[in-house]
């Protein structure tokens, strides 16, 4: 029987409390920091040599789907009644949204050092001490809307441009792919202004602080964001019936992406599952 993932704005007080409790428990055991490390270790940029599984690559979506499933499984070992809710950032667009309140994720970082001071993940409660990070701070940071160089969350219109694309991904299968649902959703553009970074990337930038960097998993909102990104893949599949993960077969020897991306039936590190095996989640969970 599939369990459900809900819109975070629909969670009851009790559901929020249980979700927070499960997060704090896997943080306490050290399991959570393993997720932070895995995400850092799998960030291979597309201008560098090596296999890209998580970012700037077709397997961006299945990689994060499986990553989220692992996290969710860890949470459900603590409390079998919880699942990872999704944050629809096209609708819940302000710091006043329910997910940022005291009883769930807490709010923005303070002005001086961007340290999150409210909610259960504030450093002073000693239950969410950042261990795996790019900087020497051990507290969670956020910088909503990037006041130094302001930007808004992605709009429904911006997202529609990704969902409307009938092709999953396209040559050259990286952050410069000009078409394809995957890169439009992942959000790599060109140019220098904030408008060049869309959808998924833009949300990371809007939250700021830890979410801006390679250690973004330190902020639990990472999972709520990726739960929505995961839902968007499912919505895209429903809209474009029969459209599948691409590329179907691996690039050939001599092609630029040879050995650097994961084709539909190739195994994806670190799990050894294929994108094909992750295209349909309906027996595991469904979105409501």
């Amino acid at each position: 029987m599939a369990y459900t993932r809900k819109n975070v704005s629909a969670l009851t007080r009790s559901e929020k409390r249980r979700l927070v409790g499960a997060f704090l428990e896997i943080k306490r055991t050290g399991e959570y920091d393993e997720f932070v490390r895995v995400h850092i270790d799998h960030y291979v940029s597309d201008g560098e040599d090596g296999l890209r599984t998580a970012h700037m690559t077709p397997s961006f979506l299945p990689w994060h789907r499986r990553f989220l499933l692992d996290l969710e499984r860890a949470l459900r070992r603590v409390d079998s009644g919880v699942s990872v809710p999704y944050w629809d950032w096209t609708k819940d667009r302000t710091p006043a949204a329910s997910l940022w309140q005291e009883d769930l994720l807490g709010g923005n970082g303070r002005r001086s050092d961007h340290q999150v001071m409210t909610g259960p993940f504030a450093r002073r409660h000693k239950k969410w001490v950042v261990k795996e990070s790019m900087t020497d701070g051990d507290y969670l940071t956020r910088d909503f809307g990037r006041p130094r160089d302001p930007l808004d969350l992605p709009t429904a219109g911006e997202l529609a441009k990704a969902l409307d694309d009938p092709v999953y991904d396209a040559h050259p299968w990286d952050s410069t792919s000009g078409r394809g649902f995957r890169n439009r959703l992942e959000g790599w553009g060109t140019g220098r202004g904030n408008d060049a970074w869309r959808n998924h990337n833009r949300v990371h930038r809007w939250v700021g602080g830890h979410m801006l960097g390679g250690a973004s998993v330190n902020d639990p909102v990472f999972w709520l964001h990726h739960s929505f990104v995961d839902l968007l893949w499912t919505r895209w599949q429903k809209r474009h019936r029969g459209a599948r993960y691409l590329p179907e077969s691996p690039p050939q020897l001599g092609e630029r992406q040879y050995g650097r991306i994961v084709a539909r039936h190739e195994e994806m590190p670190p799990w050894g599952v294929t994108p094909d095996q992750l295209e349909d989640h309906s027996r595991i969970y469904r979105y409501v």
Binding site: G47, R73, T176, G254
Partner: protein, 178 residues
């Protein structure tokens, strides 16, 4: 090779069941496809390569500046770094090595020729210096880059001899490395 829906679902379910049985760790890397020839990024038309070429010409001998209260230094590596076993991310020849207050800032290259850092990871910048300044902005005057693992304080970088700094590697491929 097309696998039916039912099969795929079952496999996904199996994947989950297996995951329940095994702890999250160890994340053992599955057999990865082998690497092709070294990849040299090149900017497509309209990419940042023009600006980068200008930057490379101007700072051929490296850069050293104070920005936002931090000392940013960078130099271009002359030769390919040694590739430790299992590390697919070692910088290729000609890559930039950058430090902020003597701590290594891990720069990554984007396919269009741009640069990004582990601090500011969801956009790219046209030059290594622009990426480093953005990282300093993000540190906000209150945070420092984390020192490489195993070092309470990194060794000081000799004034005129940045390229002599030994390759630093962090424990898990996290933290920062140049």
């Amino acid at each position: 090779m097309r696998v039916g829906n039912g099969t795929r679902r079952d496999v996904l379910r199996g994947v989950l069941a297996a995951a329940v049985a095994v702890a999250v760790a160890p994340f053992v890397a599955a057999s990865a496809p082998t690497r092709a020839r070294p990849y040299v990024p090149g900017g497509p038309a309209g990419g940042p390569s023009g600006e980068l070429a200008e930057f490379e010409a101007r700072f051929a001998a490296g850069f050293d500046e104070m920005y936002g209260g931090c000392r940013i230094r960078g130099c271009k590596e002359a030769a390919a770094g040694v590739r430790p076993a299992g590390d697919a991310r070692t910088a290729p020849a000609g890559s930039w090595r950058v430090t902020v207050d003597d701590r290594p800032l891990h720069l990554m290259r984007r396919a269009d020729g741009g640069y990004l850092t582990m601090v500011d990871h969801y956009r790219s910048y046209p030059t290594p210096l622009a990426a480093a300044r953005a990282a300093v902005d993000e540190l906000g005057g209150t945070l420092r880059l984390r020192a490489a693992a195993g070092e309470a304080e990194p060794e000081r970088v000799p004034e005129r001899d940045l390229e002599q700094v030994p390759e630093r590697r962090e424990g898990h491929g996290h933290g920062v490395h140049a």
